[in-house]
């Protein structure tokens, strides 16, 4: 039960937003685990780079665009903190994901360097935690 009273017109964008957010969270976790485990199995770098490009980024797009779609329909008075957290994690997340994709590609092309894949692990670890915080803020709406 995501919300009890809501106009029907919000349902489809909300469905896409939640679907995108859950896929983004799961794919980010997969990238983090792959990047952390890469020291033992270096071929995981390819898995990490491809997952970032083919799953994480499309899921971010779905989550963010559907979120914007809902925002265009919903007139929320003021600027509640929970909404700000959602926008911050969404928009700052794009910067983090672009950096992770660049570092992921460098890690594949320069196998002798270890810092790019470490950077991917740190970035996706931080982003995973941020996504959970955003989920709690947007669902619980503290202060609303």
């Amino acid at each position: 039960m995501l919300a009890i009273i809501r106009p029907d017109a919000w349902n489809f964008p909300l469905f896409l937003h939640v679907l995108g957010a859950t896929a983004l969270t799961g794919a980010t976790a997969a990238v983090f685990v792959g990047a952390v485990s890469e020291r033992q199995w270096p071929w995981l770098r390819t898995v990490v780079a491809r997952t970032l490009l083919l799953v994480v980024f499309p899921a971010w797009l779905l989550m963010r665009l559907a979120g914007q779609w809902i925002d265009s329909k919903e007139d929320i008075p003021g600027d509640p903190g929970w909404l700000g957290v959602g926008f911050l994690v969404g928009d700052a997340g794009l910067v983090l994901l672009i950096l992770a994709m660049i570092f992921g590609a460098v890690a594949v092309r320069r196998p002798q360097r270890s810092w790019p894949i470490r950077a991917v692990a740190i970035i996706t670890g931080i982003y995973f935690v941020a996504l959970i915080v955003a989920m709690v803020a947007m669902t619980g709406k503290p202060g609303a």
């Binding site: 009890i4 859950t22 896929a23 969270t25 799961g26 997969a30 989920m135 709690v136």
Partner: protein, 158 residues
């Protein structure tokens, strides 16, 4: 946050663990099919166990906090069609996901045996990883969970 929002947070956290875990497992499963050496398949299949744990915890959270929410709210009834259908789908998703998971566990065990016995590419392992029934069960379980998400949002008949 009031009680309703706390219950909702844990209910939605469960949904994130289930759907996120399904995506996590699906990604590793997909890349396992691209690998030839059994030892590499084993690595990816062992990581899938993280996804399985996430899904198991998430399924429990969605059920416990979902039922708690129904009991707590006056305007949602146990007899609502979408509640009943969601509960049936929850059982279906667990059942077919469980059967698919057991078949994948058998594939992982075969990969472990092959890895220990020379790590040569195997046609049998390749065929097991692409077994249509196993894939239909695992991916079908994911689709049922997405259908539950749709029910939770649209709440048909409420």
């Amino acid at each position: 946050m009031d009680r309703y929002h706390w219950l909702l947070v844990f209910h939605v956290l469960g949904a994130f663990l289930v759907l996120g875990g399904a995506v996590f497992g699906g990604i590793l499963n997909f890349f396992a099919m691209q690998r030839e050496r059994p030892s590499e398949v084993v690595v990816l299949y062992r990581m899938v166990r993280i996804a399985v744990s996430s899904i198991a915890v998430g399924m429990t959270l969605t059920l416990v906090f979902g039922l708690w929410l129904i009991g707590d709210l006056d305007f949602v009834k146990w007899s609502d069609a979408w509640v009943i259908i969601a509960l049936i789908l929850w059982v279906v998703a667990n059942a077919i996901g469980g059967v698919g998971g057991k078949r994948e566990k058998a594939t992982r065990e075969l990969a472990e045996q092959l890895a220990a016995a020379g790590d040569a590419p195997s046609a049998e392992l390749r065929a097991r990883m692409r077994d249509p029934l196993t894939l239909a069960l695992s991916w079908g379980s994911g689709l049922v969970v997405i259908a539950i998400l749709a029910l939770m949002i649209w709440k048909p008949g409420s």
